[in-house]
Subunit: 383 residues, 3 copies
């Protein structure tokens, strides 16, 4: 009975609704090991990132694509990987992910990654669309706009940047925390904050916006585009304060924007994914995923996937890998999501709670249809 | 081996220690779909509440009672359901729940529900007792009492309302949050807050108490009755701020009332049920349930039930459905609790950790005996 | 296949890196029942602590060591236990735990327990080393040092106390909460706080340090020793405010000490163990365990163990029982850790995610090697 479900989920063309591009160049083993953890610290002596769920999952699910047995040792994995160029690895792993649509956040360290246009060409017939990171656009236009013109300069730049994009993204969780004042800041507040920031930039500060007024201005401008607004929530690197990344902190702002018609997608959410499920149930405009956490919990990710299916309506959950850099992560996100979803849903089918058709339909909603509807993506003949 | 356990739990007459009445009148499909989610928002176009764990569980466990196959499609379910009156549905689903004692919170939108007296008649030989909602009593007596007489007027009305009740309930979680000042407010504070509230009422405000002083006055009067005090905690509709509904916020107040002899029951608790288990272990007067969450997590509720059995002494956990309105929820609460409890306990029996007799005894404590002891309920010949 | 894993984990000599000594004298049944719960309250009438996961686990795993069948009734257990002296019980249960190294926190109610030297003698060839509780040392030297000399007096005493110790421990979670100011307090601040505390002591207050400046002074002095610093986090008795024991609150302090080279071990962590896993992934100097919670969740502890293996690198998780008093707890910690770890890892092996050798290696890291490395413990011929 469950063969049909497993095969259906295995064959499902996914929409990876939040992902970054893959590495443009070869990396050393040390660089690689630092890219498969969310830690931004050097590895302690004698410690390897392969001793983690992500590392074990790479050995299990990526080694066979390099011609190795599943679960090959880390050294063998690295030796085989080192024989490939960055382009070969990207083609190999992204190609094997079974993803039809990649929605690519282009705003983070893009100079280390394959440019979106090149990636889109290589991935064809799969499609690659853009998610525009609000803070990156703001940082690009800051100095040319001046304090009085920042809001307008940003809006103009955002309109241009999103002309062919399918969504926007905010990292206010990193830059400030989700406990921000929910309302739209006034022009005077923005001009004052812009002035202070520009003076810092003139003094040579790096172009990194962290003033909450400016972050809110950018977020509200994102809402005004009418495109889905993605927000980082939950787990990430130690640059964030995890306590201030609980999506429940967004409730006042979610209520403020509820009438605008703009949809919100909470990204990652772990370990607050049950809270995200609550928000997705009670607020019509709230959606979420458990991307990133699935990659980093590896063999243990089935529990995370199952917990994401407690309170949330099945029409409000999405799939993402949140991969950045090593293309193993683009592949692994898809493999582990298929595995966790199959295991969770198959259990309910075998217990007689769900039909197999129900299960395959829910997997299709989460892996594909919900994102197509939300982002207005094209349909294939198979849809 | 585990047949005996399954059959024992299936046959156990439950005490549903926190429930509301069932719908008095027929509802439209749209109304029904809005009543099987905690969202109070209109459903977005093209979305159905049947695409949720609750919806799937209704198709699985309620369809057979309407003569349909288990897991019948939603449209077939609705068509079959529409051929029954509200009374027929109530008789059918509440009758099938296997509940011997219903402890009914009468204080929420009672005009849409079957009155307690009528319900009690229809449910016989099962018993229906009353849980008095403190805030509702306060709202009823406010205008007749005047500011100076509010505390006394409330006490008198509460004494009358609880004369034949088995417990009281507070929704201070909704009206303020659980982070309230723990002490009993002074008479002067109460009179001042009452004056302000009554002036609002005179200006036409709806009779909805939300002043924390008045809410605390009502809660302490509830403690003074000596009856078990139920508190909403955790998950509910978006009228509450979930961050302020963590039962850990109650610790200062729990310590304040520890000497009074009054017992406290934390309701629902999800996603803070592990915190509730901690409170139930360390405070002799604290009990809890995971009602509501079991219905809304459907096939996934086994994990929630299992997590409720981590730290808590087995003498401190109770069963409730928290059903309100559609009688499917009254039935589903019982079915899912039996299913989740059977699965969690059976696992421990099969692993050799517990005896089957242990498991059946723990299920009986949670499903029945703990509530009988706590609320002073009558025993049957089978007890 | 999994026989090898089960047998390997069963035979693994553990390092119990945070434990207390065992009871020095016989206790009554009531005393015993109060020692197998974290509640410090008298048991309500008619309630037994055997009706808990810990109680059931004692009947399951400790009864056979007393010659009873597994899962013997509580009364039979007590009757058999009552025929043994405290020394016999300690020898029996600690001896059966399969622990090669006990790292013993000697700072809590030591007068009720077997002294460390005696314990070490009885446990041979297993080794017992000392973990020095910072607050206990501070309380011992307070009155002799005077306000101006407290910091220096404490440092001297700590140097003496840790001369042969392998780590230090702070209970700032209990005494204040983990939301303390992260920086090292100034000498002037310390002297002022010391003066106020010494005046209290002169007035007869019990020697219990709770001033956050003094607690921080002690904690920083602990960091200065270069020994691993253990911190109580999460669950414990109701003397703590669980909301203020979330290890995420430690982030500012963890960043402050990151450059010192001192390692930190977060103890217990439940129900915040997923947060601890995040900290262990992103901060090289952070390690953690789920001790205490494993004992108190009994048959349900497999889920807790599995959740501790989500984000954390496998080189950063440790084993502890946190047993204090009844020697059943010293045994049970080891039995339940072996059981939960075997079950979690075996699942991943059976699903084809991990090799059996991977699983046994990870169990060995957590149960033994990580602690050996962190605390600089001697190796055996078998290592």
């Amino acid at each position: 009975m469950s063969t049909e479900l497993s095969e259906g989920i295995a064959a499902l063309p996914l929409v990876d609704h939040h992902v970054h591009s893959a590495l443009a160049s070869a990396v050393t083993r040390e660089q690689f090991e630092r890219l498969i953890t969310e830690s931004d610290r050097p590895l302690p002596a004698g410690v390897t990132s392969f001793d983690s769920q992500t590392g074990f999952a790479i050995r299990r699910h990526c080694a066979p694509l390099l011609g190795l047995p599943a679960r090959a040792p880390a050294d063998a994995y690295w030796a085989a990987r080192a024989g490939h160029t960055a382009e070969q690895l990207s083609d190999l792993f992204l190609g094997a992910a079974g993803v039809s649509d990649w929605l690519v956040d282009t705003g983070f360290k893009g100079d280390e990654l394959i440019p979106l246009g090149t990636l889109a060409d290589r991935l064809r017939p799969a499609r690659a669309s853009e998610i525009v990171r609000l803070e990156t656009v703001l940082e690009e236009v800051a100095q040319a706009s001046g304090a009085a013109g920042l809001a307008e300069g940003f809006r103009t730049a955002l309109a241009r940047a999103t002309a062919s994009a399918v969504g926007v993204k905010s990292v206010i969780a990193y830059r400030h925390g989700l406990d921000f004042a929910p309302g739209r800041p006034s022009s005077a507040e923005v001009e004052r904050a812009a002035g202070a920031w520009l003076r810092e930039l003139e003094r040579g500060a790096p172009a990194r916006v962290s003033d909450p007024v400016l972050l809110r201005m950018a977020l509200w401008a994102g809402v005004d585009t009418g495109l889905p607004v993605q927000l980082h929530t939950g787990y990430g690197d130690p640059d964030l304060d995890l306590r201030r990344c609980d999506p429940l902190l967004l409730v006042p702002w979610l209520k403020e924007i509820e009438g605008t018609g703009t949809d919100v997608v909470l990204l990652h959410c772990y370990p607050f994914h049950r809270n995200a499920g609550f928000l997705a149930q009670v607020f019509p405009h709230v959606h979420f995923d458990v991307g990133l956490a699935v990659n980093h919990t590896g063999a243990a990710s089935t529990a995370v996937v199952a917990e994401s299916l407690e309170l949330a309506p099945f029409t409000k959950v999405l799939y993402s890998s949140d991969a950045w850099g090593p293309p193993e992560l683009h592949h692994l996100g898809a493999v582990l999501w298929r595995r966790g979803t199959t295991r969770a849903l198959r259990g309910w089918v075998e217990e007689g709670e769900w039909t197999e058709a129900d299960a395959l339909r829910v997997a299709t909603l989460i892996g594909r249809t919900n994102a197509q509807r939300l982002y207005g993506l094209p349909h294939d003949s198979s849809d």
